[in-house]
């Protein structure tokens, strides 16, 4: 990827992150989502944040272990999953600005997961990104809800 194309992709992904994080809570503050849909909406924001982190990190591949970045790559997904507590959804949905901020934190943590992984060692960001996205999507099928079968 050329430098200018990379910059364009970064700008587009960053814009998508902000739009996906901020617009829905503010524009549809009167709509109450069920827990599953809410989890899945977070998974979309997380996917955008991860993609952004991977693209930013792609400019400078790291070939020697940078242990400090591993901490960021592992602590961020943990925090992201802890933020997905279903009990907070009712509250955040009635506070649009807080809800949007909550989403931005998701995006930031996802970015840090992928970026931190790639800065720890090339290739690790992808593994961390896949793991976080699987957790985010997986949460929608039983965390805070009992699915009827």
């Amino acid at each position: 990827m050329t430098a200018s194309r990379r910059t364009l992709v970064i700008a587009l992904l960053a814009a998508a992150c902000v739009v996906a994080s901020v617009v829905p809570p503010i524009e549809s503050s009167s709509i109450r989502l069920d827990v599953q849909t809410h989890h899945l909406a977070h998974a979309v924001i997380i996917a955008l944040g991860l993609a952004l982190g991977l693209v930013i990190a792609s400019g400078r591949p790291v070939r020697e272990e940078q242990p400090a970045w591993l901490l960021a790559a592992l602590a961020s997904p943990l925090l992201a999953m802890l933020l997905m507590i279903p009990a907070t959804y009712d509250f955040t949905e009635t506070h649009p600005v807080l809800h949007a901020l909550d989403h931005l934190v998701f995006a930031a943590l996802s970015l840090l997961t992928a970026y931190g992984g790639e800065h720890y060692l090339r290739g690790v960001g992808w593994a961390a990104a896949i793991a976080l996205e699987l957790m985010a999507v997986g949460a929608a099928f039983g965390y805070g809800i009992i699915l009827t079968r």
Binding site: L70, A73, L74, I85, P86, A87, L121, G142, Y143, L147
Partner: protein
């Protein structure tokens, strides 16, 4: 070796020994707890049921973690020789896992948490005979062990990807599909132990993510009980994490045999196309085999049950057909040097096959409807852990001690150890199989007949086994001291 290289090797060796010796120490403690349980079931001692279930929980969680620590340390050491790894990261993983073990220990003594190491939702929270803090501490402990595991898997993943040119290189894709171009390129195929590292890392990260998700959900539920969790969802994630983690202990330990056994046979265990493809199979099968734990769950989608059975059968092929058969060919007419190390490695492969066969039998849906939740289940996993993973680890430890001391154990010593470890082990394991086939349930503090009689035989087996391990320990200390005496 140059001075810095020697220093690096000593540092790597230290990491390996710290992991392995911690694992062995935890194993010894858990073995004593196992003996306590069997003696309680045999009615040799009075064991309060609440205490029995607490010990059973600790025994399960502790044993798997002990085996994992041994495999992690060994494989880390081997991969460090392929590509220098940060010891700092290895110590982080170690510290997290040990902190998790301490938390689990405290949740049981004095907490008496007794929901089983599988901590299946909603069992830890419903009708608990232990305080709430014990539940939280146990879940936190398991989470810490899992985070340590994830740290280690991440480092291994980074290592194999960086060393062999991405996932494609680590899988030896070109060796399999473009062998001529691969040979012409001058590249080297990953050694067999690198496949073990790749599979442990990839499946380990997936399982770790599942464990983390269900772990966080359970901790949140513990803090806020009004948050519901789907029990089937929780069970799938718990077994994906638990079964895969337990299963990977043997795939990590086999790497030690890939490197150790050839030195006794004076031959090379090289990477072939068949070996690479076999490990691709293992990569896939290990991830899906856990479905066989959910045969009794009628709400589980039916196709998944069939996948569970098929994958459980397929999972047996790579180790049996490629690794164990390959190992047999490696030593066939090689004039193998029989020492404590080679004896353990060889016997471990036999134990792996026997335990694996027991697993495949139980993974057959028709048979599972009878054997499910009987002592047949612990029979098979005790076989491949005790007479598989433990022997691989002991084999490697003795291999290291023998190499550094340039000494060997006497034939008499080998016979004594073999009688204790294999003889006692056989009695202990046979008691599980016989009781399981007779329908004696597992996870029962008080067993229906003929459980108590068989438990008495099992206890005798464990005592003989422990005597064997004790002799082993004495011999290991002798060799280690010899090393110190020989070393400048």
């Amino acid at each position: 070796m140059s001075e810095p290289a020697l220093r690096e090797d000593a540092a790597a060796s230290r990491v390996m020994w710290i992991y392995m010796l911690t694992g062995i120490a935890i194993f010894a403690l858990m073995a004593l707890l196992g003996l306590t349980m069997r003696m309680g079931q045999a009615k040799w001692i009075a064991l309060d049921p609440t205490m029995f279930y607490a010990i059973m929980t600790l025994h399960g969680a502790g044993m798997i973690t002990a085996m994992a620590l041994c495999g992690m340390g060994g494989l880390w050491y081997l991969m460090n020789r392929e590509r220098a790894l940060s010891t700092l990261v290895a110590y982080w993983a170690y510290a997290l896992m040990v902190a998790g073990v301490v938390a689990v220990l405290l949740s049981v003594f004095p907490g008496k948490f007794g929901a089983g190491w599988t901590f299946l939702y909603p069992l830890p929270f419903v009708g608990a005979a232990w305080p709430s803090w014990a539940t939280g501490l146990f879940l936190l402990g398991i989470a810490l062990v899992n985070i340590g595991w994830i740290v280690w898997c991440t480092q291994m993943f980074g290592c194999v990807v960086a060393k062999y040119g991405g996932i494609r290189g680590a899988l030896a894709w070109d060796l399999v599909f473009h062998p001529k171009q691969f040979a012409a390129s001058g590249r080297h195929e990953p050694p067999p132990q690198a496949f073990a590292a790749l599979v442990a890392a990839v499946d380990g990260l997936l399982a770790g993510a599942a464990g983390m998700l269900v772990g966080i959900a359970l901790i949140v539920h513990w803090l806020s009980p009004s948050i519901p969790l789907d029990p089937l969802w929780a069970k799938n994630l718990t077994y994906f994490f638990g079964h895969t983690f337990a299963n990977l202990t043997i795939y990590m330990a086999i790497a030690l045999v890939y490197v150790g056994l050839p030195r006794y046979a004076n031959r090379e265990w090289h990477t072939s196309q068949v070996l690479a493809v076999a490990w691709w199979g293992t990569l896939l099968f290990v991830a899906f085999a856990y479905f066989h734990h959910l045969y009794m769950d009628f709400v589980q989608p039916r196709p998944v049950q069939y996948i569970g059975e098929v994958v459980s059968y397929l999972a047996a092929f790579p180790p049996a057909v490629v690794t164990v058969f390959g190992g047999a060919l490696l030593i066939f007419r090689s004039q193998l040097r029989w020492t404590m190390g080679s004896m353990f490695m060889f016997a471990g492969m036999a134990g792996w096959i026997v335990g694996g066969f027991g697993a495949v039998i139980d993974a057959t849906i028709d048979i599972n409807s009878t054997l499910h939740n009987t002592l047949w289940v612990p029979a098979h996993f005790h076989t491949y852990l005790l007479e598989g993973v433990v022997l691989f680890v002991l084999g490697w430890i003795f291999h290291q001690l023998e190499e550094r001391s340039s000494a060997q154990s006497s034939p008499l010593m080998r016979w004594l150890v073999a009688l204790g470890v294999f003889g006692g082990g056989a009695i202990f394991l046979l008691a599980f199989y016989v009781a399981g086939a007779d329908g004696v349930p597992r996870r029962y503090a008080t067993q229906p007949p003929p459980g108590p009689e068989i438990s008495a035989w099992a206890s005798i087996g464990i005592i003989i086994l422990l005597i064997g391990f004790l002799i082993c320990l004495v011999e290991a200390v002798r060799l280690a001291r010899l090393r110190r005496a020989v070393a400048p």
